[in-house]
Symmetry: C2
Subunit: 336 residues, 2 copies
């Protein structure tokens, strides 16, 4: 209404305008049932007229909590979107907002450094999204008053962790090959430093060894299709190669294209499985069977773990979110 706005409208201003005490205004906001209807209305109109909005800082100072969860992205990749989505939705549902910081390109951020920065910000707990190894992983101790959950496939001595079951997913894919009569499985890896790639490789190895099969030398890729194509050209020349597990869908597609260019057919000559189940977005009528992880669920679990730990910060748990094998037709059944 009036154009002359005080910089900030405080509860006191509202109280004066409504002709009540400051504390009554506070009650209208926090325990409206304890205020008479007529008083409540007066206060509400005053708030409306003055454009009052509660001051976050003062409120948090008094309450000793913020209602915010910190998120540290050590790594921000495509799959991260679904995870953030899950974190944000779960946070919203439980009445929390998110405060986010990010490792900058080139910067070498340790867990301790991340914790230090976060503890300067308005957060009650925090989530680290960690996809690569950091120097102080094993020695890191979270601040005692800040529940910390790490999203990582590695186990941590003191902090709760949440992870996709990448190893289990790879094992599942591998066993799927073997159960369909394949005698061996080749593997195309992602970037060396990626924990996802390492875990997927580990699961692949484990599955083969569990059946007494000597794992062949894995082929080094870099997540992109071209590296998969290069691997495919090599694999096409191996007569014993009937099954290829690629650490993601893009490389799996590269492998398939190379095989095709070498005159081999998928799945008639070689079977292929990928990871992440995203090829169908880019390739029409995609036939690629793929291991899909529920990134959204991962985010939800991480947030819930933080919130659950708000009262018992020293508790510690380990959560694994299993993957799903999305079956299409890129694997041939060699039995019978």
């Amino acid at each position: 209404m009036a154009t002359m706005d005080k910089k900030n409208v405080s509860m006191n201003d509202v109280a004066i305008a409504a002709g009540v005490s400051l504390k009554t205004v506070s009650r209208v906001i926090n325990e409206p049932d304890r205020v008479r209807g007529s008083t409540r209305d007066k206060v509400h109109s005053a708030m409306e007229a003055l454009g009052f909005r509660a001051n976050f800082a003062a409120r948090s100072l008094k309450l000793g909590r913020y209602g915010c969860i910190g998120v540290v992205m050590f790594h921000l990749s495509g799959g991260a979107v679904d995870m953030i989505d899950g974190i944000a939705d779960a946070a919203e549902e439980r009445g929390f907002a998110l405060t986010m910081i990010k490792k900058r390109a080139g910067e070498k951020m340790t867990l301790a450094e991340a914790a230090r920065r976060m503890s300067q910000l308005p957060v009650d707990g925090m989530i680290f999204n960690l996809r690569q190894m950091v120097d102080d992983f094993d020695t890191f101790e979270a601040p005692k008053d800040l529940k910390t959950v790490i999203i990582t496939p590695m186990e941590h001595p003191t902090c709760s962790t949440v992870s996709d079951d990448q190893e289990g997913g790879a094992r599942m894919a591998c066993e799927y090959f073997l159960d369909h009569g394949h005698k061996n499985v080749y593997f195309v890896s992602g970037k060396k430093e990626s924990l996802s790639s390492q875990c997927r490789m580990k699961g692949w190895r484990a599955a083969l060894e569990a059946r007494g099969i000597e794992p062949p030398e894995p082929l080094q890729g870099d997540w992109n299709a071209d590296s998969g194509y290069a691997a495919g050209l090599v694999l096409a020349d191996k007569p014993d190669c009937t099954a290829v597990l690629a650490a993601n869908d893009c490389m799996a597609n590269g492998v398939m294209m190379a095989l095709r260019d070498k005159g081999l057919s998928v799945p008639d000559d070689v079977s292929v499985i990928g990871f992440d189940d995203e090829l169908y977005k880019t390739i029409p009528n995609s036939i690629l069977t793929s291991v899909k992880f529920r990134h959204r669920e991962l985010g939800v679990r991480a947030l819930n773990e933080v919130v659950a730990g708000l009262e018992a910060p020293s508790s510690r748990s380990r959560t694994l979110v299993s993957g799903v094998l999305v079956e299409r037709s890129s694997v041939k059944d060699l039995r019978a």
Copy 2:
């Protein structure tokens, strides 16, 4: 050291431990040059010993600002990652953290509702990432004390906006076709409600009409490869179709696959351009020419605009970030 930790260590505790006044501790943190070296050391050791960390709420309350920028994601898609990355890096560089909230699936969030929620949070300014139309877009007025920047291709009456130049990108691609001797350009759109798709279509139309060409009926897609494939099957039967502009790379790939399956070659029979330049990640030796937008830059600009507006919240600007045509070999030169 000692296991008995008080819940929170305050400046006062540090002051007592160091044998100085509370204000001196404050000075050690905020204006260390005004404190004698020996005193500074005493205080630092005391802080270290007690594990002191400044209280965000008290500090913000006194200072009247938070050092945080709010980000509202009305939409969280793949391209959003790079944008968030840009926002986060720019924020970090300028000493701000990010506070994020998200529209939940199914929820119908208006700008007013987003602003209301944000103004309860610790933010000095905010960024809305808006990729679809909302009901109150034209009537929305940002809180006077909270600089608001909207990332959207639409112009807003009172708020600053930042956007990719989607229309310009589409025009650029179209003109590229025409400059290479093509007489007409077909268009495959994304989802109807997407502003990106609408803008790209608008640019395509404008470019054709500017040269006196009647735009053919656009084909409706849904961003995924299968819809592009369907469009490609239709286009393969049109004898006058030598050039296809698809609203993203996935659909462009679908179109190319359909053309191939119909016995046509790209680019010999039909030329194709896509958007977002991401096909090379999935397809080995990709030949697709594509319009790439600099999402990261978009985020950086948006954040800078907010920070710049912190002192003059009523200022208003419109920023367009141009796209880039990444040339490969999917367009044939028909001249000569």
